[in-house]
Symmetry: C2
Subunit: 341 residues, 2 copies
């Protein structure tokens, strides 16, 4: 399997790290020996049809800031689209940053990969939040796979649990804490009895929240994840504009303390049943969803198996990279089954 | 797929209920239309090679106490072994009660099914706890599948999460609350400030604990589940005698109250890392494992994806029956892939 990796930040570098470590161990157990034939970052591309030396790529990125600095295989200024169009590969991994205004440049990367017959694994939520129903159709039309396990729950296999482990049952509703930053802020407010602004400030100092915290605190990031789960798990054709979204800016310390008196607390919950929304919601402290700090938690309400909750870290480069590896294995498994037919 | 169902208690009846309801809906989505050709209970058997009428079986069981009362297809006194040997079928479902002394009669049912070339789905923990490494070998030798999702976590897909959703990663440790009854007792003791004996009495009155509560409170039931996870998920060749087991009889209210002062509580934890054991363990109330009441929870510690916890109801007829259905679908899926090779 030949892979083009677009975006070489924490997730991309995490993936190359995992592949290096696994190569030494048991990746061959899976009969799976992927080659990264191109990496593109903001400085340009490194391309080697025989497979790039991943140790060298990590070192170059660290020392020079771009893999394009490679003397033998570097192409300074080469664009992602040019690489996707010109390099032969089976899979394109899209690991650039999320943009929910127009999904670019990730959206064009994905469409171009489809047009050139490449399967896509993306950790970028923007294109999915804006256009998942259309992208799923486009993938079908081009007879390629689109996978995105790392977009919900980081390394925690939220999407796979629902798709692969609840076969025969029917998921009738989903509820989840889908954003670690806002959960950390709400936990800090409740435990240290501080205001939203105080908690946001300390969270930013710790590096958990971006300088522009809007994606998190206004609920946009969890809304993207609601879109992805609604389409993938519950077959609802929704995009970001269909989700009612309310963030946590208006959650007061007073409201948290009143909830506590009732044995409850307030969490930012994304939910899908008849409608799909994100809103601060009072839940019991005994509810398995009620996790602290940067954890994510998702409850699936299924017809026969009852309620199942999965909890794990929602983010992190290595965690999300492990989800990319699972997606690659899944694509490989599907291709192998198809070749048999 | 033709199925012989041995044992027609809550799980067996739950399964026939699910099949009836699914038949009306979307089971055909999976291209899956199982026929139950024999049911055996304590009164004898009902056998119809064309498939039994499940509504009638449920009604007979309710009214007459045994499916052998069927005028056309009933065989009073027919033994499970005779049915397994004489009835043609692809799968035997073993849903009799757990016996950890010698695993019987379930163990003989499973071995006989293997010898006659039948795949086995079991919800009976006894044979697995005593002989899982040998049974896995025997299944391989006879080229049949052995599945047992319902033995750990009831309807909660604990085993599948580890096997199917963490591909590419490595599970290095497992910790879990694996028994709802003891968790309910410990929760009651801590919340109502009562002794073990008082909590046990009220739990028995509610019907959560058996009259002989030893399987639960002495930790034998969770130890069986530790054996199953150690073999299936972590490839350790263990049986019940290899597990260090301590139950909750000696957990005092005082110990719970002292743990509470430290922000902790005491739970009966089954764990697998270098060793495998079951013991009352002090854990933080913030630990995602720390669930209340009859819930089960299992944390997988994986190399790259971090810690993932799954929480759900650990028991219940419909829940466990939903796990049997998943196992049947899994066997069918594997057979379909194999036919292609």
């Amino acid at each position: 399997m030949r892979i083009i990796l677009i975006g070489y930040g924490v997730v991309g570098q995490g993936l190359t790290n995992i592949l290096l470590r696994r190569r030494l161990e048991n990746l061959k157990e899976y009969g799976f020996n992927p080659k990264i034939v191109a990496i593109v970052d903001r400085g340009g591309a490194a391309i080697n049809p025989k497979g790039l030396n991943l140790e060298k790529m990590l070192a170059l990125k660290k020392r020079n800031g771009t893999v394009a600095a490679d003397r033998e295989f570097g192409h300074a200024q080469m664009s992602p689209l040019a690489a996707i169009e010109s390099v032969e590969a089976e899979v394109m991994i899209e690991a650039t940053s999320t943009n929910v205004k127009n999904g670019e440049p990730g959206l064009s990367h994905i469409k171009t990969a489809f047009k050139t017959g490449k399967h896509v694994v993306t950790t970028n939520k923007g294109p999915l939040a804006l256009a998942l129903p259309a992208l799923m159709e486009l993938a079908d039309y081009n007879k390629v796979y689109l996978r995105f396990s790392g977009t919900v729950g980081g390394g925690t296999p939220v999407l796979e649990l629902a798709k692969k482990c609840l076969a025969g049952d029917k998921i009738v509703a989903i509820r989840g804490i889908l954003n670690g930053t806002t959960n950390y802020i709400l936990t800090e407010m409740a435990e240290k009895r501080i205001t939203f602004q105080q908690a946001l400030d300390s969270t930013q100092k710790l590096g958990y929240a971006e300088t522009d915290p809007s994606m998190d605190v206004d609920g946009i990031d969890p809304a993207c994840k609601v879109v992805i789960m609604a389409n993938w798990i519950m077959n609802k054709k929704l995009t970001l504009k269909d989700i009612k979204v309310k963030g946590i800016r208006d959650v007061t310390l007073q409201a948290l303390e009143e909830a506590a008196k009732r044995g409850n607390t307030i969490k930012l919950i994304g939910s899908i049943d008849d409608s799909a929304k994100v809103a601060p919601t009072e839940i019991s402290k005994h509810n398995p969803l009620c996790v602290s700090g940067v954890l994510n938690a998702v409850t699936f309400v299924s017809e026969f198996a009852g309620e199942e909750t999965i909890i794990g870290r929602g983010a992190g480069g290595m965690e999300t990279a492990s989800a990319v590896l699972r997606d690659l294995l899944d694509i490989r498994h599907n291709l192998a089954s198809k070749m048999l037919t």
